[in-house]
């Protein structure tokens, strides 16, 4: 049964019909046309679909859309408007982290949530926050470096 759902996504109110159990990932990609958030595994193993719900990093591929009604959703398209997100995006480009880039929406969302909560993460904080995000190109060394640069506000 489809139901009209209303969500606040990236500061805008969006209304659409979707089954309540439909994961947020597919609402974003296939109903709202917001393709920056990626499908990788469908079982919360890879982190490619990471978005923020009330500022926390969550896996949208297993998150029923009904669970986020009346909550604030931020995606990669808008994370640059948050201070932590903007710092992370800048550091990512300065460290030239990205290769194929497919997982990097999720990596950036996870890193932005980490920095918003823990402004000066150490290696174990980075491991804990980022180990849920797989990068098949193997950009991990630069992800770690970029998070540290973003935290310190250093220029590379």
């Amino acid at each position: 049964m489809h139901m009209a759902t209303t969500l606040t996504i990236n500061g805008e109110t969006k209304s659409f019909d979707a089954p309540p159990e439909m994961p947020l990932l597919w609402v974003l990609r296939d109903i709202l046309g917001m393709t920056g958030t990626k499908f990788g595994c469908g079982i919360a193993q890879c982190g490619a679909c990471t978005v923020h719900v009330d500022g926390k990093a969550v896996r949208s591929c297993v998150l029923p859309v009904s669970a986020v009604a009346n909550r604030t959703v931020t995606t990669i398209e808008h994370v640059g408007s948050t201070p932590a997100g903007a710092k992370v995006q800048k550091a990512w480009l300065e460290a030239e982290v990205i290769q194929c880039g497919y997982c990097q929406s999720g990596q950036i969302m996870a890193a932005a949530a980490l920095l918003a909560a823990t402004p000066n993460p150490d290696d174990s904080d980075i491991d804990a926050a980022m180990a849920g995000n797989i990068c098949r190109c193997g950009t991990y060394v630069r992800i770690r470096e970029a998070i540290k640069h973003a935290a310190n506000g250093r220029q590379s």
């Binding site: 393709t35 079982i43 497919y102 180990a131 060394v141």
Partner: protein, 722 residues
């Protein structure tokens, strides 16, 4: 796919294979290629001196990319090569995916529009420099004729032509129309590499700014008006077919539009992926599993071990191997590598709109023209009625050298009148891959005076190239399967290499990042470590003593020993392992330092790699490719194995087909040597380096000589012996 980097080509020449091989490789393929069509963009109002360069009146410089961007940085490197000789303003350079056209954009090595074998820069290095230099000469001619001066009295730099004597300057935009009327000069001079201003700089990548904000568009992101979404289930048994399908429950689900039954696959089309997925789950499918329903990996291995006992086709034989092997200390070993899936982060997908007289495709592929011709066959249309729109690839790794996903999507799209985006679940992606084959590499060697006197090497495994590019398979030799074996870097006086073609039943095999050198660099470098121990020598000193004719390899090996702290004391159960490799015409030496705990679990502590890839077009990309390639290869060594039971792949997603993660990643130092040699390949080389270097570190730490991947922790628990 291996084709010929300069090293293996030389090796093939000496073995007498090359003449027939090269003729077969180039001539028929070129003749059979698609008829040329004009590039899709209009060149009106632009300077378009060739298929690669478009400059409009504002000076906007659009470069058409014959190779595809799948993370390896080729869009930036290809652009740098063109822009260097064009003397373009780098800040005005933009890139576009080229349309399918072998005549205009065919990779010069293959005669086909293919991205693979780490050869984009090697193949295009001279042709694109010539294209850039010719265009530059035409812009200079246009300015000189406008000013009434000699072209030789003008210079070009950063998108401008200048006449220093009179102080006049014109931008490329202002010259675009006049340059379009110039006759292209023949035999333009190329720059001396010491004058390069773009090549060799650590360039910022052109594709990454849109990858931090969700704007980058991959094949899976295509959106079309009226588009629906499909997902598929293929017969779980290799080669099996669809029997009966009961779709009554599925068709009742909201958002499910149609069930499409193909020969070996069922698709559900819905309003979104979720509806398609729920619909697929609700189907009752009976499969005709066919003759492969009893296949197991265990049987495949027994067959391969048996096949590897046979004599193979001789790829190379120098000296007197029979005599050499009966002298000195004899060594025998066999190394075995498993099936692997590609698991690109972007799951397999293709979007297709089939109309009465045309077929349009949106996807990310490494084989533009083959996708076009295969889609034409599937759609029942002439090739020129098939439009292929390529995209950024969310990883390729060789999986997207296959057209199967596009063929299936065309067959599905033929059943409906709207565009349909077909996306495979991760489970389908892993269970219906085209797998890296199982290989068994046997080595028999003899040691005399602490050096290898005889080396007999036999590869047994799939001939991927024979399927993928049949004319390249000559005299029983698959040059991909033996790559980095026939051109092992060491001075072996008596040197013999054979190949046994052994195809696993039913399991499709294909190219996997690192290709042939993955199996051979592993086996060669493992054996070299075991031989060093037998000779009572340090692994690096042992290798050095047999690299006297290979100065580039010797130099990187010496440097990696120094940078990695080789020889410095380590705690118990910590070891360093080395790997040297001649793959893709790059010379790389790598040291991995690893710790093995008492239950056999492995911690990577540090990796050092020294790389001589000739002229590094973008040195930062060379570093990034080695860093990432190491992780890709080490992931396989630590975890990678596809197993088969009852004809089915047993792994399905990242929980049971594991990937290395950030918490397992050590410090990686990559040193890129400055070199004036022609560029080598780099996108796959790091993959070759990790597994043997780690295995040799484990050997140093525990004394256990592993001969199979992935690494079996049980063999490494404290107290185990080799």
């Amino acid at each position: 796919m291996n084709a010929h980097n300069s090293v293996s080509r030389r090796a093939l020449l000496t073995s007498g294979l090359a003449t027939g091989f090269l003729l077969a490789f180039h001539l028929p393929l070129r003749a059979a290629a698609n008829e040329p069509v004009q590039p899709s963009d209009t060149t009106e109002g632009k300077f378009a001196p060739n298929a690669f360069i478009r400059i409009d009146e504002t000076g906007r410089t659009v470069l058409m990319m014959p190779q595809v961007e799948m993370g390896q940085g080729t869009y930036t490197s290809i652009s740098a090569v063109l822009a260097e000789e064009l003397d373009a303003d780098w800040s005005k350079v933009e890139v576009q995916h080229a349309p399918p056209n072998d005549k205009l954009y065919g990779n010069p090595t293959f005669g086909l529009q293919v991205t693979g074998n780490s050869n984009s820069i090697r193949a295009w290095w001279l042709p694109l420099r010539q294209a850039g230099a010719t265009a530059r000469a035409m812009l200079v001619q246009a300015a000189a004729s406008q000013w009434g001066v000699e072209p030789a009295s003008c210079t070009a730099s950063k998108g401008e032509v200048a006449h220093d004597a009179s102080g006049r300057k014109l931008g490329y935009g202002a010259l675009a129309l006049a340059a379009q009327g110039q006759t292209p000069p023949k035999d333009v001079a190329l720059k001396d590499p010491k004058d390069f201003v773009i090549i060799g700089q650590p360039l910022k990548r052109l594709d990454t700014p849109d990858k931090v904000n969700g704007k980058a568009v991959y094949g899976i992101d295509a959106i079309l008006p009226g588009m629906k979404f499909a997902t598929v289930a293929a017969c779980p048994v290799f080669g099996g077919k669809v029997g009966k399908v009961d779709d009554s429950a599925a068709m009742k689900l909201p958002g499910v539009r149609k069930v499409v039954v193909l020969d070996d696959m069922v698709a559900v089309i819905g309003d979104h992926m979720w509806a398609a997925k729920k619909g697929l789950e609700a189907l009752k499918i009976e499969w005709n599993e066919g003759p492969n329903a009893e296949i197991t990996t265990k049987d495949i291995w027994e067959d391969l071990r048996k096949a590897s006992q046979k004599d193979g086709a001789v790829a190379k034989s120098d000296g007197d191997i029979a005599k050499a092997l009966v002298s000195g200390d004899r060594f025998e070993a066999a190394y075995e590598l498993p099936f692997l899936a590609h698991a690109s982060m972007e799951p397999i997908n293709a979007t297709v709109h089939v109309k009465a007289d045309s077929c349009e495709i949106w996807t990310g592929t490494q084989i533009m023209t083959r996708v076009q011709s295969e889609a034409a066959k599937a759609a029942g249309l002439p090739i020129d009625k098939v439009i292929v729109n390529n995209h950024l690839l969310g990883g390729g790794f060789g999986r997207k050298l296959e057209p199967d996903m596009v063929i299936a999507a065309v067959k599905i799209a033929k059943q409906v009148d709207y565009p349909v985006k077909v996306v495979w679940t991760r489970e389908e992606d892993i269970q219906h891959d085209v797998y890296r084959p199982v290989y068994r590499d046997q080595i028999t060697a003899s040691l005399v005076d602490g050096k290898v006197a005889g080396w007999k090497y036999k590869v047994a495994g799939s001939a991927v190239l024979a399927r993928w590019l049949p004319p390249a398979f000559q005299k029983g030799i698959d040059i991909d399967a033996i790559d980095a074996a026939v051109d092992a870097p060491y001075d072996f006086a008596n040197f013999h290499v054979e190949y046994v073609r052994a195809e696993p039943p039913a399991v499709p095999t294909g190219f996997w990042r690192g290709v042939g050198p993955n199996n051979n660099v592993f086996a060669v470098e493992c054996a070299m470590d075991e031989l060093a121990r037998k000779a009572g020598k340090d692994p690096i000193e042992f290798r050095k003593s047999m690299l006297t004719k290979n100065p580039r390899m010797l130099a990187v090996l010496g440097q990696v020993a120094e940078k990695s702290g080789w020889g410095q004391k380590l705690p118990p159960r910590v070891g360093r392992g080395v790997c040297v490799q001649p793959s893709f015409a790059s010379f790389i030496a790598t040291v991995v330092e690893a710790e093995i705990d008492d239950i056999g679990e492995i911690t990577l502590r540090r990796i050092t790699s020294v790389v001589d890839t000739g002229i590094a077009v973008n040195p930062d990309t060379v570093k990034a490719q080695i860093e990432g390639g190491l992780i890709f290869g080490l992931t396989a060594a630590l975890y990678g194995e596809i197993t088969i039971d009852r004809g089915r792949v047993q792994q399905s997603n990242f929980h049971d087909y594991r990937m290395m993660r950030i918490n397992e990643t050590p410090k990686i130092e990559v040193i890129v040597v400055r070199s004036g040699e022609a560029p080598g390949g780099i996108g796959e080389a790091g993959v070759n380096a990790g597994p043997p270097a780690l295995r040799n570190a484990i050997y140093a730490a525990t004394g256990v000589a592993l001969r199979r991947l992935p690494i079996d922790r049980k063999l490494l628990a404290a107290g185990k012996k080799a």
